[in-house]
């Protein structure tokens, strides 16, 4: 009689412990995706790029870009808009990617870089341009969407 009572108590303990462990595993897996520390890769605040000047000549556009921020910039995406209304105002967004440029040497604060691309062949004109800088972290381009700049072009890019 003593032995039989002992076995059932042991089973009760085993069941209790195994159920507790199983339950904690289930709860952990459910909450894991919510509570695990997550540091999304993002550009630091203080990234800033400006179009110092640009020039359209013979179907090519040349840009001089200056880093006005506090941190280095590793490259930039150059988009243009080639659609305009009757008054010459841009229509839609600059969705045409002219170039995704990774700089050979990072653009340090205060430094200037330039680039030249042909636009006439594919897009015929530029009414608006957009520059979105990025930084490279772990072989991945991290876009700095907050530092994106947009600028209208003058008639010379038509």
């Amino acid at each position: 009689m003593q032995n039989k009572r002992g076995i059932s108590e042991l089973i009760a303990y085993v069941l209790l412990i195994s159920l507790s462990i199983a339950l904690s595993i289930v709860v952990y897996n459910w909450l894991r995706a919510y509570v695990m520390p997550y540091q999304p890769k993002a550009c630091p605040d203080g990234i800033s790029i400006i179009i110092k000047d640009y020039n359209c000549y013979n179907g090519n556009i040349t840009l001089n870009l200056s880093n006005k921020g506090l941190f280095r910039i590793d490259g930039y995406i150059f988009r243009i808009n080639n659609e305009s209304d009757a008054t010459g105002n841009p229509v839609g967004l600059p969705i045409n990617v002219i170039s995704t440029t990774t700089l050979l040497t990072p653009l340090q604060p205060g430094a200037v870089t330039s680039g030249s691309w042909n636009y006439k062949t594919k897009y015929s004109k530029i009414v608006e341009m957009e520059i979105e800088p990025f930084r490279i972290e772990g072989n991945k381009n991290i876009l700095c969407e907050k530092a994106t700049i947009k600028q209208r072009t003058l008639l010379e890019c038509n």
């Binding site: 995706a33 999304p40 890769k41 967004l93 600059p94 876009l143 994106t148």
Partner: protein
């Protein structure tokens, strides 16, 4: 006097029945609980917060519109759910666009301007179902979308 089943058999029966009941309850509850979709090892809902996109709609001709989209963020956008909103009605149209980071596209929309006054553009990301290999689209919540009034 009849002998009852031994306590050992009774215990085994109890454990087996409990496990069986547990399996039945799990199978039933699994269908009720929404499956969890993850991206970058995170819940997809939280990844939606990292999205950054720009959208604009322009009139091309009667009932024909161009939707411009630029993915300015660091999360690829798999598709967009375009909800056409009119008086007392709304229709959702999913467009698979596959916009990588920095990508852009122009989509043509055909909708009756007299029936609809605006559209809501909701990004859809591609995630993986917890514990499975296959990928599944996850439509981000309304707060991560952009509502655009249709031009006249």
């Amino acid at each position: 006097m009849k002998k009852s089943i031994s306590p050992l058999v009774a215990t085994v029966l109890m454990v087996v029945l409990t496990v069986a009941a547990g399996v039945i309850v799990y199978t039933w509850a699994h269908g009720l609980v929404k499956e969890q979709i993850e991206k970058f090892g995170r819940n997809a809902e939280q990844v939606c917060d990292q999205l950054s996109f720009n959208a604009e709609v322009k009139l091309v001709s009667a009932n024909l519109f161009d939707l411009y989209l630029i993915n300015q963020g660091n999360v690829p956008i798999y598709a967009v759910d375009i909800t056409k909103i009119g008086k007392g009605k709304s229709v959702v149209d999913r467009r698979v666009i596959t916009l990588s980071e920095g990508g852009s596209t122009k989509q043509t929309l055909t909708l009756e301007r007299s029936s609809y006054s605006s559209i809501l553009v909701l990004p859809v990301i591609l995630g993986s179902v917890r514990g499975q290999q296959n990928e599944k689209p996850y439509a981000c919540a309304q707060q991560y979308g952009q509502k655009l009034d249709l031009p006249l």
